[in-house]
Structure formats: C-alpha cells, structure tokens
C-alpha cells in the first residue's frame, strides 16, 4: 500500500532513479551474478574430481578382473 502511494506521487522511473534505489538493485544483481559464477566454478571442479575418481575406480575394477 505504501509503495502504491509512493508510485502515485512519483512515476516508477522517477522513484527508481530519484531515490537512488537503482544502485542498490544493480549492486544486488552483480552480487547474485558473481555468486552464480562462483557456484558454477565450484560445481565444475567437483564434477571433474568425481570424474577422475570414477576413472580410477574403473581402472581398479578392470585390473582386479584381469588378475
């Protein structure tokens, strides 16, 4: 209700930029994006580590079967 009243007085454009809220939105969006980047980086490393472990396990079972 308060937001509605504010928007009646100021159009959304004036409110968004005039009040300096755009900097907050931009900052939060950048933080979220960097967070997604870090998460992707970590997930890729984990998948690569798991893939190496799977390769090792595959080699072990292969050599065990041969012996």
């Amino acid at each position: 209700m308060m937001l509605y009243t504010l928007l009646q007085v100021n159009p959304i454009e004036g409110f968004f930029f005039g009040s300096g809220k755009s900097m907050v939105v931009g900052g939060v969006a950048v933080i979220i994006l960097i967070g997604i980047g870090l998460w992707l980086w970590r997930m890729e490393k984990r998948i690569q580590a798991l893939s190496r472990q799977a390769d090792d396990a595959f080699q072990n079972t292969k050599s065990n079967a041969a012996s």
Binding site: E13, G37, M43, I47, S51, F58
Partner: protein, 354 residues
C-alpha cells in the same frame, strides 16, 4: 587458471552489463503535448490562443526556465510556440499561437533546451481548428539542433521508455540459444559421421547443448513476453516473430522428448541426430528467414528481425555487445558443465554394471 580465464571474463562482462543496465539513467524525452481545454481568444477575430501542456520524461526544464524553446514542424514548415510558463522539470505550458491558415493538421513537436538538447515527439500535435491549405507557408524561425549536455545515459524511445534495459537480457538470450543450438547441430552432424555407432560422444554434446540452449530459449520467451506486456499491452500477440520463437522452442522440446522415449543408446543417438538437423534448419527458417519477409510489431521489421541501427545508439552498444558476449560465454560454460555431468553419469552407470 589461464584456461579458465574466459569464464572469469564472461562473469566480469556480465557484472559490468548488469551494473550499467540498472544504474545508467534514461535520457530525456517528450511524452505528450496535451490540450488544457482553456481556449481563449485575444481579440476574438483574427487570433486564437490555446494553451497546451508539454510533458517530458527525465527533462531538466527547471534548470534554465527561460532557455526552453518549443517548435512544431511538418516537412519544411517550422513554427515556434511561445512558452507561457515552466511548471517544473517535466511540465511547461505552451501557447498555440499560429496563423489561421496552416499547411497541415498533424505536426511533430520539438523542444530545445541547453541541458536536454533537442527532443522530438513525432505527430505530437493535431490542429483541428485551423483552415488547412497545403500550399500555405510559415515564416521559419531560427532553429538549431542541440546535443544534450548530460552524463552517460540510455536513449529515450517512445513507448519503450525504461524497458530499453531489457535489451541486455532479452536479445542475448536468443544469441546464446543460436550459438548452443549451432554447437548441437555440428555435434549431430559429427555423430552421424561416426563409423562406430556405439561411440556417442557427439550425441552427448548435442544433448547437453540443446538442454542448455532450451533454458536460454525459454528465458528469451519470458523476457520477450514481459516486454510485450509493457510496450504492446499484451503478454502475447499473434506475430510471426513471436510465434516462430515459440514453435522453435517446442521443436527442441520435441528433441528432448524423443531422446527420452528411445532406450537403445545407438538408435537414440542416430534418431536424435537426424531430428536435431531438421530442428536447427527450422530454427533458422522461423527466426532468421521468415521474419524478414513479414510485417510485425517486433522491432526492425522489413528486412531485419532484430533492432536496427536507428534503434541502437552508441550508449546502448557499449552495453549490448558485452552483454551478448558475456551471455554467450556463460552459456558455453553451462554447456560444458552439463556435458561433464552427463559424462560422469555415464561413467558411474558403467561402474555399477560391473
């Protein structure tokens, strides 16, 4: 670390894009020249004075109220309208003081101000109480176009206004989808060229690229629909470009459904590779070829299905091009992770079978 620098570069580009998208202000523009319905005549015989309210968006008329100049223009005819009063930064009262005979009914409105530069409102004035004589000429006033004296800003576009920021999200989604579907297309060709049918490495690549490409396609549809709601007043309109985009995404959804319905790995790889070739051709036809031949609400019609050079100015390009590159790099990264996850899953399945 060096190998991963393109990933850091992609995120850095997107951080720059997101920051500038949300923080760069919109440039000034004219919204409306509204009749105030306070018509009055000076002498009741030869002249009529009607007052209009000129409404701007993001204008700075309060800074230098005496410097605001308002003109109307039709072809070569130009006339200056006296400014009665500047109410605030975005509102001014204008007198419609014109000869009884005019060469046209509809006029473009121009406003000159040292801060905002020359602003333009196409067909902003319709004069219905004058005698129209196409050969009637007006004595042209002194008029110079001014460049704005403002910090970096995005261009004001009628009807689009602040939603111009969506350009950095909506359009790169489709560019990224094209890239990923292109990767899938090449992978499918190479899969069909495999001599050993059991080798499905390229099939995995095609699947991963289509999965991630689909995500970008759906995001493209959502951001486009949101934009359409604001600028055209409807979430969806019967438009060749929009329908083509939806059909393309559905065709690729069919690819994923087809894959899920075939259990035999070799058959699945072959069938889906053939389907993917047709899907990519359909994508190119529906999104790149057909829109060039049809009229549509979508920007840049009549030859170009996207924004054209008149819609993109240098301030937008400085953000738009990095946005396209950044989203493409992120999409490629996501594709690689998806592919690695698929390959890991296959390795684990092989281990379990032993």
């Amino acid at each position: 670390m060096i190998q991963g620098s393109w990933k850091i570069g992609g995120i850095a580009l997107l951080a720059y894009v997101v920051w500038t998208t949300f923080t760069v202000p919109l440039g000034p523009g004219l919204l409306e020249l509204r009749d105030r319905n306070e018509a009055a005549s000076t002498d009741g015989i030869t002249k009529r004075i009607e007052t209009y309210e000129l409404i701007g968006l993001g204008t700075h008329w309060g800074a230098g109220t005496e410097d605001l100049r308002v003109f109307i223009r039709k072809g070569q005819n130009l006339a200056q309208l006296p400014v009665i009063d500047v109410i605030d930064d975005t509102h001014a009262h204008i007198a419609l003081l014109l000869p009884d005979t005019l060469p046209s009914r509809s006029w473009d409105v121009l406003a000159n101000h040292p801060v905002d530069g020359t602003l333009f409102l196409q067909n902003g004035l319709f004069t219905d109480a004058y005698i129209i004589e196409p050969t009637a000429g007006l004595e042209p006033p002194v008029f110079d176009e001014h460049a704005p004296n403002l910090p970096h800003h995005f261009p004001f576009q009628p009807r689009i206004f602040e939603t111009i920021r969506n350009l950095m999200l909506h359009v790169p989604m489709w560019f990224t989808m094209f890239l990923l579907m292109g990767i899938g297309f090449v992978a499918s060709i190479r899969q069909l060229g495999q001599k050993e049918a059991s080798n499905t490495v390229f099939d995995q690549r095609a699947e991963a690229s289509v999965q991630v490409g689909m995500a970008f396609g759906v995001l493209g549809l959502l951001t486009g629909s949101l934009w359409a709601r604001y600028t055209w007043g409807a979430w969806w309109v019967d438009d060749p470009q929009l329908n083509g985009a939806l059909v393309t995404v559905l065709v690729y959804a069919g690819y994923l459904i087809l894959r899920a319905s075939v259990e035999d790995q070799r058959l699945r790889a072959r069938l889906s590779a053939v389907y993917n070739l047709f899907a990519f051709i359909i994508l190119m036809i529906l999104l790149m070829v057909l829109p060039r031949f049809t009229e549509s609400l979508h920007p840049g019609k009549g030859g170009n299905p996207g924004f054209n050079s008149y819609d993109l100015d240098s301030s937008l390009r400085a953000v738009f091009y990095p946005a396209v590159l950044g989203w493409m790099l992120l999409g490629t990264w996501m594709y690689r992770i998806r592919l690695q996850a698929t390959q890991l899953n296959q390795k684990l399945q092989r281990l379990n079978q032993r």
